[in-house]
């Protein structure tokens, strides 16, 4: 928080005069809007699509909620009946209990109906809200599997997760309360009608306190919401600071920042305290207001209603019914105003959900797309390919080359030369702007993406492991692979030995992202995964990380094994890899500038020779040191 930077004197007595304390804890990133417009037809109609399949259940729920409300309304009336027609006359004129008996029987019937309606209503709505919640989440998750990778690259995972969880959950809350809102609305109208039916004059008198409550609440809700927001925000800022302290604890301790950080954090915690106290004060202020209005209404009923009883205009049971209604009277108003906030929150969430669902699927199969089959060879060809993530800034300009079946080709070039983009095009992660990419002699746009995926195995620069066992990770989506095939692949890449040393061998559970394995071991597992997939073409983005020399040797061996009998297309950083390639393609600023084997390129004395000579032992930093954007 900016306020912290202005008060250095608390923590650094020995600070030089005029210097600032450059210290904060946690991030001050502003949160997303919590509230949207209360009603947005477009969002509602999109969301309705998820509810529509359960239309008949919605109707059942609404009917049940109306029956439930009707029974609620009936109870004071039955009591009135019991008092006025059952009890009072019986007392006054002999002991005829039949009216009372009838009233109580009716009462029992109504409360049973009430319980059943409640059961049906809550059950149907609860189940429906859960179903819709999961349906929306599934639709979004499924959609994200197909949206363009450039969207995924630009978007933080955390942000998407908060869509899939927080926003989806607030839709659930919305669905549950909106059926309740129907009931509350009906209850409010029902109470008004019942009171007016009992006695128009007294009813109007009592109802006159209603507008007061409405007005007070409208002013109140805005203030309360601001207070609630401030509390919520201060809380998430403090929680962010705590998370940072936990993740960065090693840096905190080695820099000796414990004292200072505790001081800074305490201020955040103070702010949490003060905003929450403020919010609590605002939330509670409504209690005496509602109670006062209830008191006024009851006093009116007693005074005015009492004289009406005396004048014979109203029976005593009527007063009792009034008193019962008054006590229930403010409940629907309270929950309706709360539902208004829920609805605003839901609209903001709904807007974000739809945003995700509307991200275009960049790549779709043509209607007549055919699968690549085993009959297709393993050649890869670029024909005058032009491509850019932003059409005005091409990262590949007129790139043409061909890799024949069984060849190994290394792609080298400085950062930003377009190597990774070229690889992504082979797998059709993106579509070219001009020209064509051919795999097995067929344009990648004419074949199904699924078959393309099985024709190409890909090893990414950063090995990525999922939570699960070793064998699950190696097998991954090649589900039909047998245990023997997995073991064979692991042996081939030299991973078998270390896997067998793990506590439970192939059944060992990996930690988050394979944290219990070394970088090199993770790399070998991802090699094994590609080998099990057994595709005719292998695309590999070599790791740049500095791995110790022993692991490096193992990886080189595994690579050779992996490339056996396959077409290999490698973004290479290692000298050994580059030298082992049949051909080297040098890219610069999106164009192929040199191509040939190592000796030919060295003889040319061009960019490749220059880069090669600059480099010390590994080929990972091909940036020219004079350019700070390319260095490291």
């Amino acid at each position: 928080m900016s306020t912290m930077q202005q008060q250095p004197q608390d923590y650094s007595a020995d600070a030089p005069v005029g210097s600032r304390l450059r210290a904060t804890v946690g991030s001050t990133r502003i949160e997303e809007d919590i509230f949207g417009r209360a009603f947005d037809g477009r969002i509602m109609s999109r969301l309705w699509a998820f509810v529509a399949p359960y239309r008949s259940r919605v109707i059942v729920a609404v009917i049940a909620v109306l029956i439930f409300t009707a029974t609620q309304l009936a109870i004071p009336l039955i009591i009135r009946y019991a008092v006025d027609y059952g009890i009072a006359p019986a007392r006054d004129s002999g002991l005829d209990m039949s009216h009372l008996g009838r009233a109580v029987a009716l009462f029992v019937a109504v409360v049973i109906a009430n319980a059943i309606a409640n059961l049906i209503q809550e059950r149907v709505v609860g189940d429906l809200a859960e179903n819709v919640l999961f349906d929306i989440r599934r639709a979004m998750f499924g959609h994200l599997q197909r949206v363009s990778l450039s969207f995924m690259d630009k978007t933080e995972v955390g942000r998407l997760m908060s869509r899939l969880q927080g926003d989806v959950n607030s839709m659930q809350e919305f669905l549950e309360t909106s059926v309740m809102a129907v009931g509350d609305f009906a209850l409010l109208i029902g109470i008004v009608v019942a009171m007016l039916w009992l006695d128009v004059q007294l009813g109007l008198l009592v109802l006159s306190v209603l507008p007061i409550l409405f007005i007070v609440r409208i002013f109140w809700i805005k203030k309360a919401r601001d207070a609630f927001m401030a509390a919520h925000q201060s809380n998430s800022i403090a929680n962010g600071a705590l998370a940072e302290a936990i993740h960065g604890v090693r840096a905190v301790q080695s820099m000796g920042r414990e004292e200072l950080n505790l001081g800074l954090y305490s201020r955040l915690a103070d702010r949490v305290l003060s905003t929450h106290i403020h919010a609590a004060r605002l939330a509670q202020i409504m209690v005496p207001i509602v109670d006062t209005l209830t008191g006024i209404a009851m006093a009116l009923v007693i005074l005015v209603g009492g004289s009406m009883v005396v004048s014979g205009r109203l029976e005593i049971g009527g007063i009792i019914a009034f008193l019962f209604y008054i006590q229930r009277f403010f409940d629907p108003i309270r929950s309706l105003t709360l539902q208004y906030s829920v609805m605003q929150r839901a609209m903001a969430s709904g807007h974000r959900l739809i945003e995700v669902l509307d991200v275009p699927k960049a790549i779709t199969d043509k209607p007549d797309a055919e699968p690549l089959t085993e009959a297709d060879d393993g050649s890869v060809e670029f024909r005058n390919v032009v491509f850019g993530y932003n059409p005005d800034e091409p990262v590949l300009r007129d790139v043409s080359f061909r890799v024949n079946t069984g060849e190994t080709v290394a792609l080298v070039g400085p950062t930003g030369s377009g190597k990774s983009s070229a690889m992504a095009l082979v797998h059709r992660f993106y579509d070219v702007q001009d020209g064509a990419v051919l795999v097995g002699g067929r344009d990648v746009r004419d074949v199904t993406q699924d078959s393309l995926g099985h024709h190409i195995a890909m090893v990414l620069q950063e090995p990525y492991l999922f939570t699960g066992t070793v064998i699950e990770n190696i097998r991954y989506s090649t589900e039909h692979a047998s245990v023997d095939q997995v073991i064979e692949a692991s042996k081939a890449v030299g991973a078998h030995d270390f896997i067998m040393r793990l506590p439970e061998g192939y059944d060992t559970l990996l930690d988050e992202r394979g944290g219990n394995l070394s970088q090199g071991q993770r790399q070998l597992l991802s090699f094994a995964r590609a080998l099990v997939a057994d595709a005719p073409i292998l695309i590999l983005d070599e790791a740049t990380a500095n791995i110790d020399s022993y692991t490096e040797m193992q990886i080189q061996k595994a690579l050779q094994r992996l490339l056996e009998g396959r077409t290999g297309l490698i973004i290479a950083h290692r000298l050994a890899t580059i030298r082992g390639a049949d051909r080297i393609i040098v890219l610069q600023k999106g164009s192929v500038i040199e191509s040939g084997n190592h000796d030919a390129l060295m003889a040319r004395d061009g960019l490749y020779a220059g880069l090669y000579n600059l480099n010390h032992g590994s080929f990972d930093d091909l940036g020219t040191p004079s350019d700070p954007n390319l260095a490291s």
Binding site: A23, V111, R123, A245, S254, R257, A269, V287, I289, P628
Partner: protein, 619 residues
């Protein structure tokens, strides 16, 4: 929670050992433990005397005010009735009406006071616990953080604090409220009309029982549901983070099947929870209304008999409506107790841990004189009881101005060795000294000021580059900050950014590349001007040219300090005054680059391996 995490079993300073609490979220807490936890929560809550006292006072008075309302209503009805039958004016209704109004206002104010002060206690308590948790987490040593997942600690700091915070208002105060309401109200009822009173209360045991049972079941299923949802969210999170792998293997269908599998179990559980909730709430309502029907029937007969007034019947009926809510919420209170007890136990387990690495009593500050670092027969193991030795009998000395290179295969103990110097861990045996002072006998603050470690993966804080560089010395002067980042080969890059030093970087580094992150973390350490500077494989992502310039820049200050460098690239070590070759925790070779090459041992072998394919490119 396992018994081993009880505070009495605390480690006795035997190396880096730290008993790790079991933060299992579904585990039930033993009764003794639970009672102790609740005692501590209550003690801490009641320490906010004014607020807690006011909350309790408001609760008591509020119940009294609340209970007068049914009585006043009854009296009003009776008076209206009398006025009707016996004739006479309605003037006597006025005092009752005014009393009713006054009591309503009073009840409102007292309820407000009750809720506000009770919540206030909770928020103050949370404020206090938050700071304690934060402080403790910051002070627990590396060995603790190695073993406890960060997610667990975050949950303790967020959800568990919340669970304890809620207890005073939703558990304790509401319970007082309910007990008083049933106690005083029930006594009033039964003393005026025993039969009717008992009938009116007859739904209470049933509703209370269902409420408690259903809330406890809901809580148990909630915990399981949370686990299922965690699986689901892990499936989604890993899919999104690894979307390139998913695409590369065309594994979308496989991933959808994984998602459906995880979601199906969660959904089934969610439906079960709806069922439990709904069945019980309907049953509770029904019991309440049936009791009301009985009161109506019996009370009606009594009124007809003349044994009871119609006002008394009204009183009883209104009282029942007042009682209904708190009784139905009894389950919530029990739930609040259960939650506070498990959350509180986790919090106290954490707070009761004593950092095994802390200042010895009366420890003096480290005094740097010659700047000599010595390892004297140092052995270390992460688990002193059974674990293998990570370091075995290490001895060496480094004088001011010297650079020591450390090399060895992964797991050979390189990082463990340097981590003993700033006491990230404590040696199991032997001594690490700086100018003759053992590192575990001086204050941590002074030690860590003198020793800076640049870690392999540098953690950046979500703030500006400036604040990150100045992390260890936030009050430093601008020119020192710029000099440090200049030496780290960072300054030029930063000044080229649109927002310069004000650029915000994040935990994940945001826009910075791996090499830039490492340079930032080097600048951060250089700013401290430490007597001992350690690079733990922290130049791996920096290209060779920049690394060479970095080395030159650092040579200026090198005469004033001991430098230790861990690296895989022999190029980074060649210039060292001495190179230690580690294998399985032992120094197997030691000497200058030339000497080790001449020795023809492991180092020489590695040299051939690394340089063999690049002999012509060696600069």
């Amino acid at each position: 929670m396992k018994a081993q995490s009880a505070p009495s079993d605390h480690p006795d300073g035997d190396g880096g050992r730290q008993i790790v609490p079991d933060f299992n979220r579904t585990a039930s807490v033993g009764l003794d433990r639970s009672r102790e936890t609740m005692r501590r929560i209550m003690q801490m809550s009641l320490a906010y005397r004014r607020q807690a006292g006011l909350a309790i006072l408001c609760t008591i008075l509020g119940v009294l005010a609340q209970l007068t309302i049914p009585l006043l209503l009854g009296r009003a009805v009776d008076q209206a009735q009398t006025a009707l039958t016996a004739g006479g004016g309605t003037a006597q209704l006025l005092p009752v009406a005014l009393m009713l109004l006054a009591m309503s206002v009073l009840r409102g104010l007292l309820t407000m006071g009750q809720n506000f002060f009770a919540e206030s206690v909770g928020h103050h308590l949370a404020r206090q616990i938050r700071a304690m948790v934060y402080d403790k987490i910051q002070r627990l040593p590396f060995s603790f953080h190695d073993r406890v997942h960060s997610g667990e600690l975050i949950t303790v700091g967020m959800l568990d604090v919340e669970g304890v915070r809620m207890f005073f208002s939703t558990g304790f105060i509401r319970l007082i409220h309910l007990v008083l309401l049933i106690g005083i109200g029930g006594w009033l009822l039964i003393s005026t009309d025993p039969a009717l009173g008992l009938l009116a209360l007859c739904f209470v045991p049933f509703a209370a029982w269902r409420s408690i049972v259903s809330h406890l079941t809901l809580r148990a299923t909630w915990l399981v549901l949370q686990e299922k949802l965690a699986v689901l969210s892990r499936v989604m999170e890993e899919n999104l983070a690894g979307i390139r792998v998913v695409r590369a293997f065309s594994a979308q269908l496989y991933e959808m099947a994984k998602f459906d599998g995880a979601s199906k179990t969660a959904l089934e559980l969610a439906h079960r929870r709806v069922r439990i909730r709904v069945t019980n709430s309907s049953a509770m309502s029904l019991s309440f209304f049936l009791a009301m029907a009985l009161v109506l029937l019996v009370g009606g007969r009594q009124v007809a008999n003349g044994t009871t007034g119609i006002g008394a019947l009204t009183s009883v009926l209104t009282f029942m409506t007042i009682l209904q809510m708190p009784v139905r919420q009894l389950g919530m209170m029990v739930n609040s107790f259960a939650r506070a007890s498990t959350c509180g136990t986790r919090i106290f387990t954490l707070l009761d841990l004593e950092p095994v690495i802390a200042d010895a009593p009366g420890a003096p500050e480290l005094k740097i004189t010659d700047g000599t670092l010595r390892f004297e027969n140092v052995s270390f193991s992460f688990d002193p009881d059974s674990g293998p030795k990570a370091l075995d009998d290490i001895s060496f000395e480094a004088r001011r101005g010297e650079t020591i290179g450390i090399i060895g295969a992964p797991g050979s103990g390189k990082s463990s060795l340097v981590h003993l110097i700033p006491r990230f861990y404590d040696a199991t045996s032997g001594r690490v000294t700086i100018d003759g002072q053992a590192v575990n006998e001086v204050t941590l603050a002074s030690l860590r000021k003198a020793v800076a470690v640049v870690q392999q993966d540098s953690f950046l804080f979500t703030t500006t580059i400036e604040n990150n560089v100045a992390y260890g010395d936030p009050a430093t002067a601008d020119h020192r900050l710029h000099a440090a980042s200049g030496s780290a080969q960072l300054h030029d890059y930063v000044t080229g950014l649109p927002e310069g030093y004000g650029t915000v970087v994040g935990e994940r580094g945001g826009s910075l590349s791996g090499g830039q992150r490492q340079r930032l973390s080097i600048a951060r350490s250089l700013l401290l001007d430490p007597a001992i500077m350690i690079f733990d494989d922290s130049t791996a992502a920096i290209d060779a040219g920049t690394e060479a310039r970095l080395r030159t820049a650092m040579q200026e200050r090198a005469p004033d300090r001991v430098t230790l460098i861990i690296a895989h690239r022999l190029n980074s070590l060649k210039h060292a005054d001495r190179i230690l070759f580690l294998e399985e925790g032992r120094i197997v070779e030691s000497g200058t680059h030339e000497k080790l090459i001449a020795l023809g041992g492991r180092y020489a072998e590695l040299h051939v391996l690394q340089m063999g394919s690049a002999e012509e490119s060696a600069a």
